[in-house]
């Protein structure tokens, strides 16, 4: 028997004697457990696994939960229930207990997380942060599937320990990154020298960051910049002030602002608000008032009292010397009219002067001493007088002659030799400016404008302040009349009432003089008109005879118009014109009356007449040019009535007496007439008068027709002689017309012959005939 066999025998023995493990069926176990619970031996809670095959005590469950959390750091209850095979309900309950027991655990949204888990997570975050230099909390939250608030809660206690970074506006940044951004912000803030809107700066920085980082999604919140900026501001690494949290005004800028304002103000002793606005001082007035309490705030400018002093002395000077001054010329050019007025109102010497009525302020800035105004006024008055005389002499075109006359005066008075042409243009420029403004219509207007023009010239002529006045004049002539117009306008408007008054006074005296003359003139006119009108009416009657002979009638009409109408019209027009001028107080020289006026001349006269008369007179002039004498008479009547003259009507008695005197007149003429040619019409007229008892004025051409008409009315002998005479006269006239200068020509012989014939034979014959009949 070998040893191995023995050993095996023993082994079998041992195996058979070894204790057998006990096995119970599930059902038995369940029953056993129930029994134990019934008996109260198991007095604690016993839980089932979800499979239903295992019992678990709550303590063990807790333990398992703890272990699981320890292992994983973070576990959701659902996962725990799966892993442990225990119903979720129990897991939840036990988890709550576990979390309540252990302060390092937290139960959030069905998940248990331990502090150690957070430590690990934050370490990871830190690693990532160091890598990316910045992480958004939202990103972390999304990664961990937790709320960003929780992330903040977790991160805050670990910032600076585990997480080396800075939390700003939902972003984590590394110190390096923060310092870089800080450097950027510092640079930007220091680089800014003018007031700037901070958000816009941040935007630029953001853009810059994005450019340098590419599209790696590095976005920095403006609030981050802002907080860094605020920090920098607090620690004093950037200097300046922030308004409303966004408007950044660097100290450099404020300093420069102050400096420039100071410099300007101390140098010029004034400063405009515009300048300050350019320097971005929002409320310049308040700013200046606060800075310079003794300064004077005006509309558009802030001035130092010294400016007032300066102006005051200048004004005082001007007043004392009896001169005038434009305060704008003394004040800095920047100061405008209204402000000048204000400054002037601050001048004590001016106040004194105004109170004692020694000075007058014109417009906004000009101060005139009364003495000066008086001087100007006197001179003007003188000038006006001389002008009035001149004007009456140069009747008709006052404007044309004025400049030359004025200029002659001006150049005499100017001490400096000025270019006459220059002066001329400027003065005419002024006058042309003035005329439409001051024109009051009619002749007065033009007269007035000339007066005003005088102002300008006087202004120039008086050597007010030597050089200065001279410069001003030059300015005026070179840059147009605008500059000089300002004060002048005021001066003239001030002087004008005074001048007007004196002028009116003068005019009134002149008018009273003229009234006498006018009356005389009108009486004269009436007389002349009466005569003429009666004559014309007389002659007009004779025209009726020729009504049926249109050719002759036309000739007669025209003849009458020319011989009788034209002088009457001329007379009327002239008289009216003169009357008009006198009425307006103008000197009118008596001029030669008897010149025949041309049509255009007439119309120009007509145009000068006052309105209604002018229209009528125009009609009269036109009728004069017409063919009908009767229509002319109508218009003549109208004109006479319009101008207040009487139009005498022809009555029977007057007519007869007139006819009588006419006849006598004619007879006397006929008897004394020696010239055979001019004899004929007179004879014809006399015969016509005798025949028709109507006065006739007939031109030579119409004589033939008249004679033919007389045929029936005259005795045959008379008619024969008359017609002979007529034909001989016609022949004579024809010869005369055809005659040349040649003496040897036979025509002159024949002419002479005819003339002798007429003179010798026919004229006495006819004379005797005519006179004889008339005597009957």
């Amino acid at each position: 028997m070998d040893a191995e066999l023995l050993e095996l025998q023993q082994q079998l023995e041992a195996a058979q004697s070894a204790r057998s493990s006990v096995r119970l069926s599930e059902r038995n176990v369940v029953e056993l457990v129930q029994k134990l619970q019934e008996r109260g031996i198991i007095d604690f809670e016993l839980l089932h696994t979800t499979s239903g095959k295992e019992y678990i005590t709550s303590d063990h469950l807790k333990h398992e939960i703890k272990m699981e959390i320890k292992k994983r750091g973070r576990a959701s209850l659902v996962d725990l229930s799966d892993i442990l095979g225990v119903d979720l309900y129990h897991v939840e309950r036990q988890s709550q207990k576990v979390v309540a027991d252990d302060p390092s655990l937290m139960l959030i949204n069905g998940e248990i997380m331990s502090q150690s888990y957070w430590d690990i997570v934050t370490e990871e975050i830190n690693e990532k942060l160091q890598e990316h230099s910045q992480i958004a909390l939202a990103e972390i939250a999304a990664q961990l599937h937790i709320g960003s608030e929780l992330v903040v809660n977790i991160l805050l206690p670990r910032l600076g320990t585990i997480v080396k970074g800075r939390l700003e506006g939902g972003q984590l940044y590394t110190p390096a990154y923060v310092s870089r951004i800080t450097a950027m912000v510092r640079g930007a803030a220091r680089g800014i020298t003018v007031p700037t809107n901070l958000p816009s700066v941040w935007n630029t920085l953001q853009l810059q960051l994005q450019e340098t980082h590419g599209a790696s999604g590095v976005s920095v919140e403006g609030s981050f910049f802002q907080s860094i900026f605020n920090g920098l501001l607090k620690e004093g690494s950037v200097l300046g002030s922030v308004r409303a949290g966004v408007q950044w005004t660097p100290t450099v800028f404020a300093h420069a602002q102050k400096e420039s304002v100071d410099a300007f103000f101390s140098q010029n002793s004034y400063i405009g608000y515009e300048v300050l606005q350019k320097l971005a001082i929002p409320q310049p007035k308040q700013y200046l008032e606060a800075r310079y309490p003794d300064g004077i705030a005006l509309e558009a400018v802030f001035v130092h009292p010294s400016v007032v002093d300066m102006l005051d002395t200048a004004v005082g000077d001007a007043i004392d010397n009896g001169q005038w001054i434009d305060s704008l010329s003394v004040l800095p050019s920047y100061i405008s009219g209204p402000d000048a007025t204000k400054i002037l109102s601050l001048c004590p010497s001016l106040h004194k002067a105004i109170k004692s009525s020694k000075a007058v302020v014109f417009g906004e800035s000009c101060v005139f001493s009364n003495a000066f105004i008086k001087g100007v006024f006197d001179q003007l008055e003188k000038e006006m007088d001389s002008f009035g005389i001149k004007h009456s002499a140069g009747q008709g075109k006052p404007l044309n002659m004025n400049p030359s006359s004025e200029h002659s005066v001006g150049s005499d008075q100017l001490s400096d030799t000025k270019d006459p042409g220059d002066n001329d243009t400027s003065s005419t420029g002024v006058s042309s400016d003035k005329v439409p403004k001051k024109k009051r219509g009619k002749v007065v207007g033009s007269a007035k404008s000339v007066t005003l023009e005088k102002d300008d010239d006087n202004e120039k002529n008086i050597p007010v302040k030597g050089k200065k006045a001279h410069r001003k004049n030059k300015d005026a002539s070179s840059s147009g009349s605008d500059d000089i117009n300002g004060p002048l306008k005021f001066l003239s408007s001030h002087l004008r009432p005074m001048l007007m008054e004196s002028w009116m006074k003068k005019r009134n005296t002149m008018l009273s003089e003229n009234a006498e003359r006018r009356r005389h003139l009108l009486d004269n006119m009436q007389k002349q008109l009466d005569e003429a009108v009666l004559d014309m009416q007389l002659y007009e009657k004779a025209l009726d005879v020729f009504e049926d002979d249109p050719a002759t009638s036309g000739i007669l009409h025209k003849h009458l118009l020319r011989t009788m109408g034209a002088p009457v019209v001329d007379k009327i027009l002239r008289t009216l014109d003169k009357d008009n001028k006198w009425k307006n107080g103008m000197e009118v020289e008596d001029s030669e009356e008897n010149v025949q006026l041309s049509t255009t001349h007439r119309t120009s006269l007509v145009k000068d007449l006052p309105g209604s008369v002018s229209v009528k007179a125009q009609a009269l002039v036109e009728a004069l040019e017409g063919k009908r004498f009767d229509s002319f008479m109508d218009t003549l009547r109208d004109v006479a009535e319009e101008s207040g003259l009487l139009f005498k009507k022809l009555d029977k008695r007057l007519e007869r007496s007139m006819l009588h005197s006419d006849r006598k007149d004619l007879m006397a003429q006929v008897s004394s007439e020696n010239d055979p040619v001019s004899f004929l019409p007179k004879v014809v007229a006399l015969l016509f008068l005798q025949a028709y008892n109507k006065a006739l004025q007939a031109p030579g051409r119409a004589v033939g027709a008249v004679i033919a008409l007389l045929k029936d009315k005259l005795p045959a002998l008379t008619y024969k002689v008359l017609s002979d005479y007529h034909s001989t006269t016609v022949k004579l006239l024809a010869l005369q017309a055809a005659a040349t200068d040649d003496e040897e020509d036979c025509t002159s012989d024949r002419m002479l012959e005819k003339k002798e014939d007429l003179e010798g034979r026919l004229m006495p014959e006819l004379k005797s005939l005519v006179l004889g009949t008339s005597k009957e």
Binding site: M1, D2, L5, L8, L12, Q16, S20, S21
Partner: protein, 223 residues
């Protein structure tokens, strides 16, 4: 089923190969065992799985083969130890056995069966036949001799028709352990309840002398 068998058997085969170092033989044995188990139709599943866990034997030697027998005997022991431990682990310990002579040709022991919460225990004995391992050992339960039809004279149990061919097929891989597992265990499970119910066998608490005697003889054998 065959798949399960395949899974089990090759593992057993492998262990055998390691033991003997005979690679080719081991492989053949494994294949045969697999075939044997596949053809095991008369046994329940529990039995089959247990059989799979008992190491197979390899030495073909009878009691008269001297050293070869001793080799065989060692294998028998190992198989028995393994089977016993398997049974114990499954809380299915049901016999005690030991060699009654130094050659190991006679074996004695006890076996028991629990029925209705009562343990019925019977003495067990058998001789190793000369033709072993071609012929299976005839297991005797002397106390039950004459109490049942499923038994030959002298208390030898009457096995199922399936046992003999299976054994023959698995010669020399089946040993004592297999015989107990495939032969005696099913027999007990089938016969004891009938015997108890019919009153042929009475529990030792209920009946005095015969049971007492049997127990005494059993315990003597065990010692």
């Amino acid at each position: 089923m065959p798949r399960a068998g395949e899974n089990h058997i090759p593992i057993a085969g492998n262990t055998k190969v390691e033991e003997h170092g005979a690679k080719g033989e081991g492989r053949r044995a494994a294949a045969a065992a697999a075939a044997a188990i596949r053809s095991m139709e008369g046994w329940d599943r529990g039995t089959k799985s247990v059989v799979g866990e008992i190491p197979l034997l390899s030495t073909r030697a009878g009691p008269r083969d001297g050293d070869a027998w001793r080799q065989r005997l060692k294998e028998e022991y190992r198989a028995l130890i393994s089977y016993t431990s398997v049974n114990k682990s499954k809380d299915n310990d049901w016999f005690r056995i030991s060699a009654a002579n130094p050659e190991g040709t006679r074996w004695e022991g006890t076996c028991w069966y629990v029925h209705n919460l009562r343990r019925y225990e019977f003495p067990l004995q058998f001789d190793i036949p000369v033709a072993y391992p071609q012929v299976a050992p005839e297991i005797e339960l002397p106390t039950l001799d004459g109490k049942t039809h499923k038994m030959y004279r002298g208390g030898k149990i009457c096995l199922t028709v399936h046992f003999k061919p299976l054994w023959a097929k698995n010669c020399p891989r089946f040993g004592i352990a297999h015989a107990l597992c495939l032969g005696l265990a099913p027999w007990l499970a089938a016969e004891v309840p009938i015997l108890v119910d019919s009153g042929m066998v009475k529990h030792k608490d209920d009946e005095g002398a015969p049971a007492e005697a049997a127990a005494a003889s059993g315990s003597a054998a065990a010692s």
